[in-house]
């Protein structure tokens, strides 16, 4: 009894400290990500370059490395990590289940199918379109896949204005199965080079994207993160149950639709550019919840910041582990996140 009391007293202090600490971690990991690599830059170099504005006026190698490779990649890893962390937390709230994940309702799977179709069938089926959109073909394909799956699931689970979570979940499972088999068929008929490209895509990769590819993704992620953050308070009440939240004055069906649309947008945008990066959306909010409790007003910003830092740090590891080659980041997130999470669970069960 006394023990639980003190544990919960600590929670208030942790909630207040969590945002500044994760924010500091984020800044630190971002600077670290820009400094480390095949061409190493010192922290003071980075600060002086950035303080002279974003125009690559200094035409030195290190300035170009920073502005054209490191900076877009770091910004992208922060944005994708924030999107995955926050949409994971939002999904778990929507399903009122701490084990839910954006991959669960088939959003990520739809994105993967779209990307694989572009890789394997793109040049033979729509050659003119592929030529026009160029490098955008893959992210556009992934985005269309995400939105297509969302539209189908949404239509299925939205009957007469009622939005049933169990149908959403079941539809997601079915869609994931269908998507999996279609990707399998496409894998069978792909050539060796296509097979290599799609394998790497499904393992996730943040590299090779310039500003032109990164910016549209950043805008989409930014909008959905703002949208989700504003739903923190009603989502707390929603955890009491749908009827209970409605009784307290929350418009529940609207809330569910908003969470669904914003999450689909954030995950769709993230997947479209980075490929499949599993585990972040699941492990980050769960870990944060253990530390500071389930209150979304704190859980959301902290999951977002920690997700961003976590993905940036794993991306550093992915880049430098086997120089000059790169590890797919999806492998690193799972390899690091999995054991760490098991350790946390082990400590948890031991305490009780």
């Amino acid at each position: 009894m006394l023990d639980t009391l003190t544990i919960n007293k600590q929670r208030g202090a942790r909630q207040l400290l969590a945002v500044p600490i994760t924010l500091a971690l984020l800044v630190f990991s971002a600077i670290f990500a820009m400094a480390i690599g095949a061409v190493s830059l010192s922290g003071s170099d980075i600060l002086s370059y950035v303080s002279h504005g974003f125009s690559p006026a200094q035409d030195s190698l290190s300035a170009r490395v920073l502005f054209e490779i490191r900076l877009p990649r770091t910004v992208l890893s922060l944005a994708v990590g924030a999107a995955l962390g926050l949409s994971g937390a939002a999904m778990q709230a929507l399903f009122r289940n701490p084990l839910a994940d954006p991959g669960l309702i088939g959003v990520a799977g739809g994105g993967a199918l779209g990307a694989v179709i572009v890789i394997v069938l793109g040049h033979s089926l729509f050659p003119i379109m592929m030529a026009t959109v160029g490098v955008y073909a893959l992210p556009i394909g992934a985005m269309i896949g995400c939105l297509g799956v969302c539209a189908i699931i949404y239509k299925l689970s939205n009957r007469q204005g009622q939005f049933t979570i169990i149908t959403l979940l079941l539809a997601g499972i079915a869609v994931n199965a269908i998507v999996g088999s279609m990707i399998g068929i496409l894998t069978l008929i792909s050539t060796d080079s296509e097979l290599r490209e799609l394998t790497f895509w499904t393992m996730g990769n943040l590299g090779g994207n310039g500003w032109s590819l990164t910016l549209p993704v950043l805008v989409l992620i930014f909008i959905s993160l703002i949208g989700l953050s504003r739903l923190a308070k009603p989502l707390n009440l929603y955890l009491l149950g749908e009827a209970q939240a409605q009784h307290l004055g929350v418009s529940v069906s609207r809330l569910k639709k908003q969470v669904f649309v914003y999450t689909a947008m954030a995950v769709g945008a993230a997947v479209s550019i980075s490929g499949m990066i599993g585990f972040v959306g699941f492990v980050v909010p769960h870990f944060v919840r253990i530390l500071i409790g389930p209150d979304h007003r704190f859980l959301f910003p902290v999951s977002m910041l920690l997700g961003a830092s976590f993905l940036t740090i794993t991306d550093i590891i992915a880049r430098v582990a086997i120089i000059p080659a790169e590890l797919p980041i999806g492998l690193v997130t799972s390899a690091l996140g999995g054991p760490f999470f098991l350790f946390v669970l082990y400590k948890q069960t031991n305490r009780h």
């Binding site: 639980t4 919960n8 707390n236 009491l240 149950g241 009784h247 307290l248 418009s251």
Partner: protein, 264 residues
């Protein structure tokens, strides 16, 4: 001002849940619904809360049809305690109770809000549990926490011109005998603040002790309604519950109770 239910019928598929119900729930009164399992008590309560929509008939809350209320306005007019609550996340008792302040959160200062939370927790005697994880509480403690949250919703403003309502679906099901009486006395107290209370109670003696208006339901219909003494008559009890029993009120000094015959 009151809740007016006019020839309300609700059915799901073939099953009739409620059949042409006419009932008035007045503020300043405690209305208690009794009846056997599946009689339609919860359905009636859900219809009044706005959870299920009538097939035919109308429900007017303070002269306005219930459909015309937005979720926010409905929440300002009534609070609901449901039979079951799922909670898979480790909120503290205090956090759960403070959720009841959602609708007026912006209108009151943080200080006032904390006072309200403290008051309702004292009322339900859960102050000592404030920092505990809700999921680790006993059934009765959880029920008292949820009740405190529901009370918080109606705590502010303390009194108001417009009548408000409180719906309680078996609020006493997990409580010990002291807290059963405590909760219903509290419900009775609330009726003095221009709040009408509609409660589902299974214990007939408990219902008889507190109800201003007792409503006996069976198969989705109102069998009879009125004062406890008239509703809990031998013939009704036998017809509806299939028990042989007598309403017994010895003196003004004690609460009434239902005495069952030795030979059923």
């Amino acid at each position: 001002m009151s809740i007016n239910i006019q020839s309300l019928s609700i059915s799901i598929g073939e099953k009739t849940l409620l059949d042409t119900i006419d009932l008035t729930i007045n503020p300043n009164e405690l209305t208690v619904l009794i009846g056997p399992n599946g009689a339609g008590k919860s359905s009636l309560l859900k219809a009044c809360s706005g959870d299920i929509h009538p097939d035919t008939g109308e429900i007017f809350i303070n002269q306005n049809p219930i459909q015309s209320y937005s979720p926010i306005n409905l929440a300002k007019t009534r609070a609901v305690m449901t039979q079951s609550y799922e909670m898979g996340f480790g909120f503290t008792v205090m956090e759960i109770v403070s959720m009841g302040c959602f609708i007026y959160e912006e209108q009151v200062s943080k200080c006032q809000r904390q006072k309200i939370i403290k008051d309702v927790m004292n009322f339900m005697e859960i102050s000592h549990l404030a920092e505990r994880n809700f999921m680790t509480l006993s059934g009765g403690e959880q029920q008292r926490t949820q009740l405190a949250r529901v009370l918080a919703q109606l705590w502010q403003p303390y009194e108001q011109e417009e009548a408000r309502y409180l719906f309680l679906d078996e609020p006493t099901s997990s409580l010990d005998v002291f807290h059963q009486y405590h909760v219903l006395s509290l419900a009775k107290e609330l009726t003095k603040r221009n709040i009408g209370v509609l409660a589902v109670v299974h214990d007939l003696s408990l219902a008889a002790s507190f109800a201003d208006q007792l409503v006996l339901l069976n198969n989705g219909e109102i069998v009879t309604k009125g004062e406890s003494e008239n509703v809990l008559q031998r013939s009704y009890l036998e017809k509806v519950y299939g028990i042989k029993a007598e309403y017994f009120h010895q003196s003004k000094e004690v609460k009434p109770s239902i005495l069952l015959d030795r030979n059923q």
